[in-house]
Every structure is written in structure tokens, then in C-alpha cells.
Amino acid sequence: MTRQITIWALAALCLMGASCAMKVERKSASYYLKHKQEITEILNNYHALYNKQPFSCGFTDRSYKYFVMQIMTDTVRYIYNTELNKETLYKAVKLVRYDTARLRLMMDQMKNIKLLWMDKTSFWVNEKEEIVTFLSFKSVAVEQPFTENKYYILLFTDQRLDIPELRERLKKGDLARIEDKVYFMIGNQYR
């Protein structure tokens, strides 16, 4: 028994050592520029479907097998997960009358570029709401255990934002501008 524990402990240490020694490549502006076309297509599909009924969506596992949708009404948010109950999700999609072909295409596109989550969020500037679409990916380019547990988040704004808070965040380096209305940041939460 003691021998078994020692072997497991050594194996775990080797694994951790190997993952630490591995060169960790973090996603940055170049990742967006490389996948710009796919990301633009995903965004177009997302906005078209979102206009029918607001929602957010993504995957819950590393193999990108299980899909989650959060469909929002004014007062209720419905969360459906294909891992637990596919039928309920299909029923909801049918009920809302989403374009299922477009939804399927968007899902496949998300899977291809390993996009974890997509949603819209808002912040307030001078009592005015600014809506931002965000896309989350794992921050490192490798799919190994014990890698950095952070997320590469792309932010898309509708208009060029020039506000003191944003300038401050850009200056501090916790937000980076890629293009006029595209930014990225490394965050602790993917949704």
C-alpha cells in the first residue's frame, strides 16, 4: 500500500514537473488576428440569433462535447445543458424558433476554434449603458492539465470607447487594444 502511494506521488510530481517545464504559450493579439475570419463569422451568427431572443452559450468540458445555452427573457433566464437533458434544449430552441441550421453551424465553428463561452455584458458610462460582446478561451495554447487556469477574453464594442476608466485599464495593461473596437484581457473567470 505504502509503495503504491509512493509511486503515485512520484508520478504526480513528474507530471507537475513536466507541465511546469513545458513552455507555456499564452494567447494574445496575434491569436485574434490569426482567427479573425472564423471569429467574425461566429459573431455574425451570434448576433443574428441573439436578435431573435437574447442568449449566451458555450461548452462545459475540455472535449467540447457538451453545449450549454442560457436563454434570457425579461425576467427569467433558462439554462439548458446537453449533458443533462438534450430534449429540453431542443424543445426550447424550437419554441424560440431559432434558425437551427445557423445555430448548429455556430456551435461547430465555436468548437473548431475552442471557444468556451460567448455572451454580452454591459457597463455604464455617464449613466448610459454600453453593451459589449465577449468571447472566452483558455489563456494558454496547450490543452494539458495543470496549466494556467486563466482565460483569454476578447471584447467587442459597438463603438470606439474613449473613457477615463478604459484608458486607465489600458495604461495599467489589464486590457489591450487589438483594433479600434476589439480588446483582449486575461481574466480569472470565463463567463
Binding site: F59, T60, R62, V68, D74, V76, L84, N85, W124
Partner: protein, 306 residues
């Protein structure tokens, strides 16, 4: 029929006053809550009547950063749409928001009176509990940034900060005094017993609690117990929010409670549990396995309708 003598009328009046006095003192010291029946028109109208007496253009020197326009529009919205009350992004205000949601549905006039008194005088008495806003939080209310809609909800900032400053649990021992940015630190955190204390003292409700900050409720079947409690009254859950939205991207998830929600429905759908709860300004309906429900819940607070 001859008119009743004067002393008889006096006696009758005295008896009536005594009866009214007796009835008033015979009321239980806890408020009866029926969250699921929604806000009564009389309660809502009483709250709106209080607001109508206010000069909505006039600020308060006690709260220099609170904008009167944002303050009063926030109060009106809270009374008209009690579901929409929101703790904001990146804050530890979920416990205060859950309690406020209960009050807005059930006793909006009490809530409005308390917030207005705080705004005008810096202190209030709610259900016999005195709350006094300290100078630090009076300066801070109205200054929040990057907290989502809470940025423009100045009445909510004032109220949440006052609750957080007034009620302390062991999680707040390390950071007792407010400093800017403390909204998402230990200063604003709420543990299970502190939450129940607030529900009793500020909400005026009688509570029954199962569970704790570390150990899950000692119940053989969570869903059946919660369903039974829902039959009797209102239920609030203290749970781990990360386990509410399971994913396999992280290797370790700490098994500790982090979030308060108000439960609206729970029932079985095949092998799964479907439940509907309130948090972040809206209701959420989702399905979950029995095992995850067990892992997720650390505390169950019930308020009986009786």
C-alpha cells in the same frame, strides 16, 4: 330607545382602545411572509405614496455622492419591479440583495421608509433594529464604478453599504471598516448566521435554518426537505455558485458556500431536479442532478407563512 348614557359611551370607547391595544401587542413579533403571492397592491401603493411626498430634485448633505435623480428613480423601480433588484457585478452583496428582494415583494413600504430615513437623517429603525450609516459609507455611496447596473442604482448602494456596515459576522473580523473597493472583499461578505440574523432583524421574519458555513444540512434527502419547506413558506439557499454552473475547465473547486439565492420552485423531472431561483435581478430556471444539489447546498433558511 333612549340614548346611551355618557359613561357607557366612554366605557365602550375605552374597551375599544384596550381591544385595539391588546390586538396590537398580541401580534407576533415576526412578519408573515408569502413571497410567492407577489406584492399586494396596498403595500405597493403605500410605498409609492411615501415616495410621492419626496422632493426628488433635492439631494442629502449626508450622502454627498448620491445623485437625487438616480436615487429616487432607483427606489421607484425597486417598488415597481421587485425582481430587478441586483447586487451588481463583482460585489459580495448577494445576501443583502436576497433580503431586499424579500422585503420589496412583501413589505415595500417598510423598505422605502427605511431607505428614505437613512437618506435624510443617516439612521433608521426597522422592526426595532437601529441602523446608522457611518461617515465612511456615506461618502462611498454613489461612487461605485464597474459594478454593472449598480453604478447607477444609488439607493441600492446606500442600502447595501448600510447593511454591510451594520451587520458583522466572523468573515468581517479582519476588515471591519469600509475602504473604497471593499464591496468585493471580506468586508462585504455574509456568512450563514449573519444572513439569518439580518433576515430576522431587518426583515422581521421568523427563520428556521438548516446547515452551516462548513457542513451541509443534516438531511437525508435535500430535495424532499426543501420541497416540504416550500410548501410551508419561503426558502433561501446558501450555496456554492461555481457548482451551480458545472464545467470541467478547472481542476479544483473549493467546496465552500459563496452565494445566497431565493428559491421559487423545485421539483423532480425524471432523474433530475428542476429548480427556479432568484438572484442578480432575475429568476433562473435550470436542471441539476441530485448529487450536485447535495454538493452545492450548505444552508437552507425557511420562513414559514404561518
Amino acid at each position: 330607545m333612549s340614548p346611551a348614557p355618557m359613561h357607557m359611551i366612554k366605557c365602550s370607547l375605552c374597551f375599544c382602545w384596550l381591544l385595539i391595544g391588546f390586538l396590537a401587542t398580541a401580534q407576533p413579533d415576526t412578519t408573515v411572509l408569502n413571497l410567492y403571492a407577489g406584492t399586494s397592491d396596498s403595500a405597493k401603493n403605500a410605498a409609492l405614496a411615501l415616495l410621492k411626498q419626496e422632493d426628488t430634485t433635492k439631494g442629502s448633505p449626508l450622502w454627498p455622492a448620491v445623485n437625487p435623480h438616480l436615487f429616487y428613480s432607483n427606489l421607484y423601480k425597486n417598488v415597481l419591479y421587485p425582481l430587478k433588484i441586483n447586487q451588481g457585478k463583482s460585489t459580495n452583496f448577494c445576501g443583502y440583495a436576497a433580503l431586499t428582494h424579500l422585503m420589496l415583494v412583501d413589505q415595500p413600504q417598510v423598505y422605502v421608509k427605511a431607505v428614505l430615513e437613512l437618506f435624510h437623517t443617516g439612521q433608521t429603525i426597522v422592526h426595532g433594529t437601529t441602523m446608522k450609516a457611518s461617515l465612511r459609507i456615506r461618502k462611498a455611496a454613489g461612487t461605485f464604478r464597474n459594478k454593472g447596473e449598480l453604478d447607477i442604482r444609488h439607493a441600492d448602494q446606500l442600502w447595501f453599504l448600510t447593511l454591510a456596515d451594520e451587520f458583522k459576522g466572523y468573515l468581517n473580523w479582519l476588515d471591519f471598516k469600509y475602504n473604497p473597493g471593499n464591496e468585493n472583499t471580506a468586508w462585504g461578505a455574509t456568512n450563514f448566521s449573519k444572513f439569518n440574523r439580518m433576515v430576522r432583524k431587518v426583515g422581521g421574519y421568523g427563520t428556521r435554518a438548516a446547515g452551516s458555513d462548513f457542513l451541509r444540512p443534516w438531511k437525508s434527502n435535500f430535495s424532499e426537505y426543501i420541497q416540504a419547506q416550500l410548501q410551508k413558506g419561503t426558502v433561501m439557499l446558501y450555496l456554492n455558485s461555481k457548482l451551480m454552473f458545472p464545467h470541467r475547465f478547472t481542476d479544483i473547486t473549493l467546496r465552500v458556500p459563496t452565494h445566497f439565492v431565493v428559491l421559487y420552485q423545485i421539483y423532480k423531472v425524471g432523474d433530475l431536479i428542476e429548480f427556479k431561483y432568484w438572484d442578480y435581478g432575475m429568476k433562473t430556471e435550470q436542471q441539476i442532478t441530485h448529487k450536485r444539489l447535495f454538493k452545492m447546498i450548505f444552508g437552507i433558511t425557511s420562513i414559514s407563512h404561518d
